[in-house]
């Protein structure tokens, strides 16, 4: 049975294809349209899916959409009703959109699917799964567990903002929910907005900024904004938020509580923003930990799966793992709404069609999340040549050797290999790599390659077999969703003078022998690299280790700020020519910047809307 899962119309549109219970393809629409968080119907992603898998539209048995529009409309109406007459401005803008499009999503979906194949009768194939059930399914069914508790947390779906489900075999039941407007995701987003970042994409930045600050607003947040119960359930005080009725996240009372208006985007970051980030991060961690502890106590389960946007908060995840309430933790790599496409399709397979769940032994079913498009060597060569690139074609061994040597020389390396990753992280399929030992690498990558804020940390890729030698972690973290500290023996103690530095001034102080991936609090967002899911990437780091003695490299997504991660060889070449990346490996093609036609250089900075 072939089931197409879809997420669309809000943000992060994506499609996924499940064939007889196995995830064959998953990709986000933004990678193809080159528009970050593209919410549009994923036509291009579906076309790529059919091309990659060889499945014809007529062979698709079911199409599962990741949320229920009527339920969402119900929430919308009841919210406006509860707050009326406040909220008329927002109502006036939202309603026409619903009446023109969103309320008729079923027919809209059928119309869009007809563009894929007009001869197929799509209507009887169409199913809808609840938003948080889709998240829960995306977290449990691909996990390596026979049974587990499943916690989902995000901004909001239809009504639900937080849910607890129990999964066993091919069954999954939601047993607890917290409903809108009480939302941990929206609380975090309110601070994202208030600290001057873009809601729904700047949350990572708040998390990255937190270690520069002191959590001195925690009491104020807990006293005025959120009432956290012992079991982790919570209620927000809506007097301070504007999202139910207005066009912003926070209101004047929120400003008064935190002594001033929101920071204007792109203005200089002050200590206040860092302290706010540290505070909301601490409160979020408290809620997540209390929820998880209650889940462990109530269900007695030894495994926990997480999904929903809040599950991308890898700092909270790392702390959760350390508590020991659960033996194992599994995180859906596409924890945001894109992953809902996988979840909806899995719901259709296991909960609607009662298909048995495929288990791959100890491994999970996301297969390293390498579920997107890939290009054959001949096609790569043809495409690069057509783009005007000058390249050498090397054999498998030589490409590893040249790339490892480039990294050891401190070069920034573009790495476009195999299938594209599904989810917001680049995991060694579409990555920019660098030497983690270099004290200048973080600044160089941030300012000259990624064109992004200098405070933002980079993540390490480390060989799975060596992770415990470098970090306070001895678990698989293939999806870069766990944060752990660099081990003491690799740290560099700060001098008394350095200890006195505050906030962003601490950035330039090397903290360990791998400074490019060590955050100011000695933490790192770790990706463990496994030979069974990405043998070529594993071989590269192994060769780098043989040359340098270090099994850790910098891995950041292959894009600039505001740009979706590259998809095709042409995207990779464009980004290479628009930034100061010095070497590029696409399949077995190796490119050096100095060999390229200078006329093909382009001004890449500023080409994309800032995120």
């Amino acid at each position: 049975m072939r089931i197409l899962g879809l997420s669309a119309y809000y943000h992060d549109a994506a499609c996924a294809l499940i064939v007889d219970g196995r995830i064959e393809f998953a990709a986000q629409q933004e990678r193809f349209t080159r528009r970050k968080h593209d919410p549009g119907f994923p036509h291009e992603a579906i076309r790529a899916c059919l091309r990659t898998t060889g499945v014809r539209p007529a062979e698709i048995d079911l199409v599962a959409f990741y949320d229920k529009p009527f339920l969402k409309f119900e929430r919308l109406l009841e919210t406006y009703l509860a707050f009326a007459p406040r909220g008329f401005t927002s109502f006036r803008q939202a309603l026409p959109l619903w009446l023109k499009e969103k309320l008729f999503q079923k027919s809209l979906l059928v119309k869009e699917l007809k563009a894929t194949d007009a001869d197929v009768d799509w209507l009887p194939k169409l199913l809808f799964s609840e938003h948080h059930l889709s998240h829960a399914a995306s977290a449990f069914f691909p996990s390596p567990f026979e049974r587990a508790a499943v916690l989902t947390m995000d901004g909001v779906g239809e009504w639900t903002t937080t849910s607890l489900a129990l999964g066993q075999g091919s069954d999954l039941k939601v047993i607890r929910e917290i409903h809108f407007p009480h939302s941990l995701g929206l609380l975090y987003s309110a601070f994202t907005y208030y600290t001057g970042f873009k809601v729904n994409s700047g949350e990572y930045k708040v998390m990255g900024l937190a270690p520069y600050g002191e959590p001195r607003y925690v009491d104020r947040i807990k006293q005025h904004l959120i009432d956290i119960k012992e079991d982790g359930s919570f209620r927000l005080n809506l007097d301070y938020f504007d999202y139910c009725t207005g066009l912003t996240m926070t209101n004047g009372r929120f400003d008064a509580l935190f002594d001033g208006p929101p920071r204007k985007p792109e203005r200089r970051l002050a200590q206040r923003e860092m302290d706010l980030a540290a505070s909301i991060q601490a409160v979020t961690e408290e809620v997540v930990l209390k929820l998880a502890r209650a889940v462990a106590k109530e269900t007695g389960e030894r495994n926990l799966c997480l999904a929903g946007g809040v599950a991308l908060n890898c700092v909270a995840n790392g702390k959760l793992l350390k508590q020991g309430w659960f033996d194992k933790l599994w995180l859906q790599p596409a924890a945001g709404d894109a992953g809902g496409a996988v979840g909806a399709a899995l719901c259709a397979a296991h909960l609607y069609k009662d298909q048995p769940r495929l288990r791959a032994g100890a491994a999970d079913a996301m297969r390293g999340s390498y579920l997107g498009t890939s290009y054959r060597q001949s096609e790569i060569e043809r495409r690069l040549a057509a783009a005007g690139a000058h390249f050498e074609t090397l054999d498998d061994e030589a490409i590893i050797e040249r790339c490892a040597a480039a990294l050891a020389e401190g070069k920034a390396l573009g790495w476009h290999q195999g299938r594209m990753e599904f989810g917001p992280r680049a995991l060694g399929g579409r990555s920019i790599l660098g030497d983690a030992r270099s004290p200048t690498m973080q600044k160089m990558l941030n300012l000259k390659v990624k064109y992004r804020e200098s405070f933002r940390p980079f993540a390490p890729s480390v060989l799975r077999e060596d992770v415990a030698e470098w970090f306070d972690l001895d678990e698989d973290s293939p999806y870069m969703l766990l944060v752990a500290d660099v081990l003491d023996r690799h740290r560099i103690r700060m001098s008394e003078e350095q200890e006195r530095l505050f906030g962003i001034d601490r950035l330039n102080v090397p903290r360990s022998s791998i400074p490019a991936v060590t955050h100011v609090d000695y933490s790192a967002r770790i990706q463990t690299v496994h030979p069974d899911t990405n043998p070529r990437y594993h071989a590269l780091i192994s060769r780098f280790k043989a040359m340098t003695g270090c099994p850790v490299i910098v891995n950041t997504s292959f894009n600039v700020r505001g740009e979706p991660i590259v998809e095709s060889p042409e995207d990779a070449f464009r980004c290479f020519m628009g930034t100061e990346i010095e070497r590029l490996a696409v399949g077995n093609c190796f490119l050096r910047k100095e060999d390229q036609d200078p006329a093909l250089k382009q001004r890449y900075e500023g080409r994309f809307d800032l995120d």
């Binding site: 809000y10 943000h11 919410p39 009527f70 339920l71 969402k72 119900e74 919308l76 109406l77 009841e78 009703l81 927002s90 006036r92 803008q93 939202a94 309603l95 026409p96 959109l97 619903w98 009446l99 023109k100 499009e101 969103k102 309320l103 008729f104 079923k106 027919s107 901004g155 909001v156 929206l186 987003s189 907005y193 873009k198 809601v199 729904n200 999202y243 066009l247 912003t248 996240m249």
Partner: protein, 49 residues
């Protein structure tokens, strides 16, 4: 027409018939707004809608 049938089924399943008059009023108001403004642009910084 199938839309109205589905809406009815939805209200029945959710036991929310009290929403019906509100939906009718809102549909009318929404219709007027569409006529008055002519365009439907996604509002807001966070896509709650």
């Amino acid at each position: 027409m199938s839309f109205l049938g589905e809406l009815w089924q939805f209200l029945r399943a959710r036991k929310k018939f009290w929403l019906l008059p509100i939906i009718v009023v809102m549909l009318l108001m929404g219709g007027l707004l569409i006529l008055a403004e002519g365009s439907a642009v996604a509002p807001f910084i966070y896509t709650l809608f």
